[in-house]
Subunit: 532 residues, 2 copies
């Protein structure tokens, strides 16, 4: 806040970062922050306005009105607030507060996920994350892309690779059944025999009534009785069947030894999406330029600082675009994001640069202003082979390998010292939907590599030729049936199209210089942890 | 496209809506659409430029270059394109195309979900949905709210109401185990007995070696042998245990008769979120004004035209705000959305008004320009009781009931003929986190009701008093433990705060006049259906 505001009366609310009583208990200085920016406001409370010991603890929430003053010369603050009126105070018992003033590690903060946004680092990351999300929408909207909400629950497996979370109600249904069976006694054999006898007798009554030419009313009444008896019997049998099911499979419905998903919520097995790409293609093949931005999931038992079970992806898909258009779009988007942070989040970036990563701002400036280098996979391998003569890679380099993180980082951090796009990867290491190049050895895939994180973007031109796509699916041993709808996009009015995916948390790691992906998403999910 | 562009050479791509050969096969007229707007471009292809029969079928994709011309006077088009060069054509076999030119019902289109964005109605809805999403971000960003990604996978149940989808890997793990057991023969009793004997003998060997004071090397070797034998035995027993688990519970790990979730991915039971509210409150209680906008889920066996298993919600949360601030925010937001559509999507709104709902534009204009009526629940009930004297409601009206849809629609559509906010609902019918009013009978909750859909927004001031909140949780028979983190927000630096949720698909129904919620989300999920 600037000095120009001096003299104004304002109402503010925020949380005390630090507070101290001064002048022998005559007044207190508070550093107050409301989360809107990294800077604090200095607030002065006098003892006759409020009980000082109730406002000085770190974490206290205050909602007050006061007058802005120029502070005495020689202090760092540009302006300070002298409190005139206190509306609300949310106190803190300093002895119990889980976030004491001492410097806390990011690892410690992961165990107090609900309070960690009150720290300087996590709140700065939250503002940068917000800025990157809005920049994403702004970029694509400006360029005529439509935002499409692809489904979270899916019955397709984009990568054909498994590692998906299952979404089901079949266990809770089974538990309901088990509970009910425990609470209410099962019918005994005698009960069933009695019910069967009852059905038999009531059937005989009808036969008798009919042969004795009884009145219609009497027969109808007897039929009603029989129906009731039959219903009762079938209920008993149904309960016995459920009890048997509970005995054999814990209440889970089974058929031919396998779980019978026809009884699950969606009448088939359902999963959390690993990518919205295949689905968003249906919209690209109708509305031209589209993108999806949403959560994606991997049930990978991975404990690294680079993997989450739930993470966000930005996936544009562009009709009438080839791999070059795709690279142009990815480059323009990433550079836009960097420039956006410099324009809209500079104070937070200064915080990151000061406390987390000295090169954070420098990296943004570099990427915002660099034309990305573009090399083929084959060229990349040649460069790496050359490098391998004078330095050691842990993974052997040869044509055909999937580039390892160390290779990607060598290219972008050491060789080019700038973002690099590697394109035309070997067909054998890439997904079935990527366009096969004329050499029949490579596909029109591309990865954008940036310093600090390596691969930031992965994309490709999609195979738009029906026969080639079908053959690729079969070649990889995948079944055709689940992809028939995807093949339809090529059967009817097929179109050349391309797209890519940007890992949103990777972009935040890149921008902030943070080391662990668990600290750049508000509520990280990983093996063994899904707090809140 | 305007007449002013005549004479320009342009490249266009799109899909043929209708096509016909003319002039005895000399040329073809195509109506082409690229999804960017409801209007088509008239495209003329001459027979010497391309084979006409390959471009006239509905659904054909063309990518061409040509010259824009003014059409002959008296036709409705403002401009037409004469094709000079054809880059690509994606053909359609008209006999097989699932979307023939004839008018298709929305119900039919739900069975061809991957192609329906090519229809006029679904593409207009997609553009309106996109506009509302971007308007949402723009509104909140403009007002200093930070976008927070709340988790999709959660271990908290916001409403305490159940009806949640379970997220698990426990079934797929069990299936892996079952498969493995089937593929490899189980150890027989003889195998186990032999392994046990082996362990026993190898133990005895060691005893003997020790008593005969054998060399250290010999003893060490014997110990290694014993360890191996023990490992072998424990593997056999492990497999038998798994086999027993498969027999009793289909491979699902159990403990004390219940599923043992410590073996699940997150080491506890996990679900899909029903609301991001509780989690986003942790950010509001640190960063002041925040919002979440993401998918939410209900495993409700509901087959109506108003319910989905997966739907999107906008949930702002505002620190230092009371119920009145909350109502002001909701009103400003809804009016902003309406004005945004009038400003940015007028041609699509004209389409909806012409083909779906005559009053669609009128409704937007009305809401954008109306101050919302505000009445207490008690006043609403009085109005409804008065109305019930002269008209029939299916649900009885009396103080204490949850207003039914018919009541809500009476208030907004008949009584006020404008949006209405009802606030201060009976405590007994509302959630535990809503602020208890001084009367101790009502809570500071509010619903925004609008014509056509009834409840569009539901919100409340949150209970910020620790003791009151804790007592409410206990009063409702909920356990305290899962809410300890939520109570912490009141224990440490508590703050008055409020928020609301807007059902995004309801907003689209309201705006477009569409009748079925399954048609306003790209990939609807409901009982028995999760296509793609």
């Amino acid at each position: 806040m600037g000095a120009g505001l001096a003299g104004q009366r304002v109402r503010i609310g925020g949380w005390v970062k630090t507070g101290r009583e001064q002048g022998k208990g005559a007044f207190a200085f508070l550093e107050v922050n409301d989360g809107s920016c990294p800077g604090n406001l200095q607030v002065i409370v006098e003892a006759d306005v409020y009980k000082l010991s109730d406002v000085v603890s770190t974490g206290t929430c205050i909602h007050v009105e006061g007058e802005l003053h120029l502070p005495p010369e020689g202090v760092k603050q540009k302006i300070e607030l002298k409190v005139k009126k206190v509306f609300d105070v949310g106190t803190v018992d300093a002895g119990k507060y889980p976030l004491p003033k001492t410097k806390l590690t990011l690892e410690f903060l992961r165990d107090v996920m609900h309070l960690r946004p009150r720290t300087n680092t996590i709140s700065a990351v939250a503002r940068i994350r917000n800025a990157l999300a809005y920049a994403t929408h702004t970029f694509f909207q400006k360029h005529g892309f439509l935002y499409v909400h692809t489904p979270i629950i899916t019955t397709s497996d984009c990568e054909g690779a498994g590692e998906m979370f299952q979404v089901t109600t079949i266990i809770s249904e089974a538990e309901k059944i088990e509970k009910e069976l425990k609470e209410n006694p099962l019918p005994s054999e005698t009960d069933v025999a009695a019910a069967e006898l009852d059905v038999k007798e009531k059937g005989e009554v009808i036969t008798q009534l009919k042969s004795s030419k009884a009145s219609k009313e009497k027969i109808t009444a007897a039929v009603t009785e029989l129906t009731k008896a039959k219903e009762h019997l079938s209920k008993l049998n149904e309960r016995l069947k459920l009890a048997e099911r509970c005995r054999v499979s814990g209440g889970i419905p089974k058929k031919d030894g396998k779980i019978d998903y026809s009884e699950d919520f969606f009448a088939r097995q359902a999963f959390l999406t690993v990518s919205g790409q295949l689905q968003v293609e249906t919209y690209a093949c109708a509305l031209s330029s589209v993108y999806t931005f949403g959560p994606t999931f991997r049930a990978e038992n991975s404990h690294t600082s680079r993997h989450l079970a739930e993470f966000w992806m930005v996936e544009p898909e562009i009709a009438f675009a080839n791999i070059e258009d795709d690279m142009n779009c990815a480059e323009a988007y990433v550079r836009f994001l960097c420039q956006w942070l410099l324009d809209n989040c500079y104070d937070d970036m200064e915080f990151m640069t000061k406390f987390i990563d000295k090169t954070a701002i420098q990296r943004l400036v570099m990427v915002a202003n660099s034309k990305f280098h573009r090399i083929t996979y084959t060229e990349a391998v040649a460069i790496l082979e050359e490098a391998a003569k004078v330095r050691k890679f842990e993974n052997k380099v040869e044509w055909g390998i999937d580039l390892a993180s160390e290779h990607e980082r060598y290219l972008t951090e050491e060789k080019f010292k700038a973002p690099v796009i590697v394109y035309n990867y070997p067909k054998a290491i890439k997904a079935f939907y990527m366009k096969v190049n004329e050499d029949n050895k490579t596909v029109a895939a591309m990865d954008v590599l940036v310093p600090k994180v390596g691969e930031l973007v992965g994309g490709s031109q999609r195979e738009e030729n029906y026969e080639v796509l079908r053959d690729r699916i079969l070649e990889l041993g995948l079944p055709l049936e689940p992809y028939e709808w995807y093949l339809d996009l090529r059967r009817y009015g097929t179109v050349k199209h391309s797209g890519f995916g940007l890992g949103f948390e990777r972009m935040i790691l890149f921008a902030t210089g943070m080391e662990n992906i668990r600290d750049v998403i508000p509520f990280p999910r990983y093996p063994g942890r899904a707090d809140l």
